[in-house]
């Protein structure tokens, strides 16, 4: 599921590649594609996937905020435990959740992230392998 989306996105990124963009630009595009695919395949029911997509879609310099924005910051963080704070920073959308929810979202995020890493490594391996065959 993730693989298909990611490959499609990659191909799109790649299609403009020969247009001599800078590698960092390309890397940014790939990064966006990777996180977007991950979030999309996780489903909209996950808080982290929604937050991740929101982060991706938010273009710098977009001033207009939609009036019907999702309610943020329902429960501000207590901020006592440094570990908890660190986890909140790591998990997308982790600032607004309660601790229980944070753990749950972190679990799902870890799962999807691991899958994404495996996928990308497989692609990289196949790429280098294909190249080496020639």
């Amino acid at each position: 599921m993730v693989a298909l989306r990611f490959l499609r996105a990659l191909s799109l990124v790649r299609c403009s590649g020969p247009g001599a963009r800078s590698p960092s630009y390309r890397a940014r595009g790939i990064r966006r594609a990777a996180y977007a695919c991950m979030a999309a395949s996780a489903g909209p029911r996950r808080a982290w996937s929604r937050a991740l997509l929101r982060k991706i879609r938010r273009r710098p310099g977009r001033g207009l905020r939609r009036p019907r924005a999702v309610i943020r910051r329902r429960r501000p963080v207590g901020g006592g435990d440094p570990l908890e704070v660190a986890l909140r920073r790591l998990v997308p959308g982790g600032g607004c959740m309660e601790y229980c929810r944070l753990l749950e979202e972190a679990a799902d995020y870890v799962k999807c992230l691991a899958m994404q890493v495996r996928l990308m490594q497989t692609i990289v391996d196949s790429a280098s392998h294909v190249n080496s065959i020639d």
């Binding site: 298909l4 490959l7 499609r8 996780a42 909209p44 929101r54 570990l83 990308m120 196949s126």
Partner: protein, 580 residues
């Protein structure tokens, strides 16, 4: 859902109703007050005006498609004699409520077939809504009764009599809603379905002809008083039923009399359907609880109102394990207390199955703690949407605060255990702090690996030969399209699949891959949506999502495409090479 397929009016209708219910679900709590009884009526009225009130189907133990439906559960609490109760609901406002219990699978399913027609009910308290002769809805009767406020002390039993649904005369005395109880119904395959009955003593003329229930079930006589009481304790909810408990007592149910509609036998039963027990525990659990019921407690089940969003997390088996929650039950309300407060109509004791919805548990906990703060004793308790049923263990503090905290702590530890399984090499780590540290390190390392792979890929993409992964994609496309009909293969899709076929570096494959993408995007979408539905992530319009994040297939392409605004120019249109 197990059992019969529900007929629907249509997706649109469903969506409309779901939206309506969602919109109004917040007002639920307001209904549950003494003063709010009228509001219930208004709510019902409005709901009925929407051509039907959503009563949802229950399904235990698994997230079903009815998540977004409103489920109305009416509990009728018997008195201290314990017992009996409720029921359920039909999915469509009207008629033909089918309920079936599958004991073997510990599933309690209530279905209603859509009968068509509007749902209406009469109540003198409210403005008149004409009843359809054909389809009195169970829920309609319920609503009707809900608006009544009188409180009777005689225990009541609500019974569903499937056979009566068909041709129920309007003069029939009672509205019956009933639920068979589990413990006794090991042999019963279906829940008796109640029939709407007009309650003459109260002047409530409710029903018209009930619908037929195909299952033959023992039906229990209904008493109007019971109905009244039931109305008192009913609540509306939405979302799936994973948080619902029914209470019933077997012995009371067993002797039930298959009496006619007109019979009014005072019997009250508490039906307990323990969600846990449905989900794998045996019936002995119910036996226990039944015996507990014997001491006069009645518990009302409420399901979380925002169950619409809930249950996504329920796919995580570890998180949903009921074993850790098994012993946690908190008594919420006793029946005698209910009796003592006849005037406090609308208040309900609620108990939720300990099998909690992950999404709802937060709310439940909050509400729980809020409520416990409010109520010093268990006397009056408001029903809010979700409710955690916690029982104080032996030798532990029974303070409401500490109970709620204990629940919370258990939830946290449950999730930590799940995380421990996810993170490799953390099986012997003990302690929350160390575990958290490991988790954080793991997430950071994963993110670093993603970055490294991205850089590597960008370098590779800069390379001239484009053959590497697009051939893969073409093959993937082929596989998907071949497997389009069978979703099972689609779910087996994994990153490893791309690997074995990754070697073709022929141009035609590349071109076919690319052209496949271009020209067969529809099939791709279909395949992907097949996959997505198979994998359980619903991308149907009924799911709850923020509006400004479109979750269709265009999303990803937009994402990636946005970074590279130039149009793809080397998309070949050698579609003729592509052979599926």
């Amino acid at each position: 859902m197990r059992g019969q397929k529900k007929t629907r009016r249509g997706e649109k209708d469903k969506l409309e109703r779901a939206r309506f219910v969602r919109k109004h679900s917040r007002a639920k709590a307001a209904f549950l007050t003494e003063a709010g009884r009228l509001k219930v009526g208004e709510y019902l009225e409005r709901a009925s005006s929407l051509s039907g009130f959503w009563v949802g189907a229950l399904e235990w133990g698994k997230r079903s498609e009815v998540e977004d439906k409103v489920i109305i559960l009416f509990l009728f609490l018997g008195q201290s004699k314990d017992k009996s109760f409720t029921v359920a609901v039909s999915e469509d406002p009207l008629p033909r409520l089918e309920t079936s219990i599958d004991m073997n699978e510990n599933k309690f399913v209530l279905n209603s077939h859509h009968d068509g027609g509007e749902w209406q009910f009469n109540t003198p308290a409210m403005s008149m809504v004409p009843l359809l002769p054909n389809a009195p809805s169970l829920a309609g009767g319920l609503m009707n009764q809900i608006t009544r406020s009188s409180y009777l002390s005689t225990p009541m039993v609500e019974v569903f009599s499937p056979g009566q649904w068909n041709h129920h005369p309007t003069s029939s005395p009672n509205m019956a809603l009933g639920e068979s109880n589990f413990a006794s119904t090991s042999s019963i395959n279906s829940i008796p379905v109640g029939k709407p009955v007009a309650i003459s003593p109260r002047g409530m003329l409710v029903s018209t002809e009930p619908r037929i229930f195909p299952t033959s079930l023992p039906h229990f006589p209904v008493d109007s008083a019971f109905v009244e009481r039931a109305a008192r304790f009913s609540c509306f909810g939405s979302g799936n039923f994973s948080g619902i408990n029914f209470f019933g007592s077997s012995p009371a149910m067993a002797p039930s009399n298959n009496e006619g509609i007109g019979d009014q036998v005072q019997k009250d039963e508490l039906l307990q359907v323990d969600h846990e027990s449905f989900n794998g525990s045996t019936m002995k659990n119910q036996g226990d609880q039944n015996s507990q019921i014997g001491n006069g407690e009645s518990r009302v089940v409420i399901f979380p109102e925002d169950g619409l969003e809930g249950n996504t997390g329920s796919t995580d088996a570890a998180l949903n394990s009921s074993s850790s929650d098994r012993g946690v039950n908190k008594r919420r309300k006793t029946v005698p207390d209910i009796e003592r407060d006849p005037v406090q109509g609308g208040r309900q004791s609620s108990s939720e199955t300990t099998k909690e919805n992950i999404e709802n548990k937060q709310k439940v906990e909050q509400i729980n703690s809020k409520q416990t703060e409010k109520n010093g004793k268990d006397n009056s308790e408001f029903v809010k949407e979700g409710y955690v049923h916690v029982r104080a263990r032996r030798g532990q503090a029974t303070n409401s605060h500490s109970l709620a905290e204990r629940v919370r702590r258990e939830k946290i530890s449950e999730r930590m255990k799940y995380l421990q399984e996810l993170v490799p090499g953390c099986s012997k780590v003990t302690g929350k702090a160390v575990m958290l540290d490991e988790i954080i390190n793991y997430v950071q390392s994963l993110q670093r690996q993603v970055e490294v792979s991205i850089m590597f890929l960008s370098m590779k993409l800069a390379a001239v030969n484009p053959q590497l992964d697009f051939g893969i994609e073409g093959l993937l496309a082929k596989n998907l399209l071949r497997a389009h009909g069978s979703s099972s293969s689609a779910t087996g899709f994994s990153p490893e699949m791309i690997y074995p076929q990754a070697y073709p570096s022929q141009h035609n494959l590349v071109h076919t891959g690319i052209s496949a993408m271009a020209s067969h995007s529809d099939t791709f979408r279909r395949a992907i949506s097949t996959q997505s539905t198979a994998s359980g992530y619903k991308e149907s319009p009924l799911q709850v999502q923020p509006m400004h994040i479109p979750w269709n297939e265009e999303l990803i392409t937009q994402m990636a495409y946005g970074a590279n605004p130039s149009n793809p120019q080397n998309m070949d249109s050698k579609a003729d090479d592509f052979a599926i």
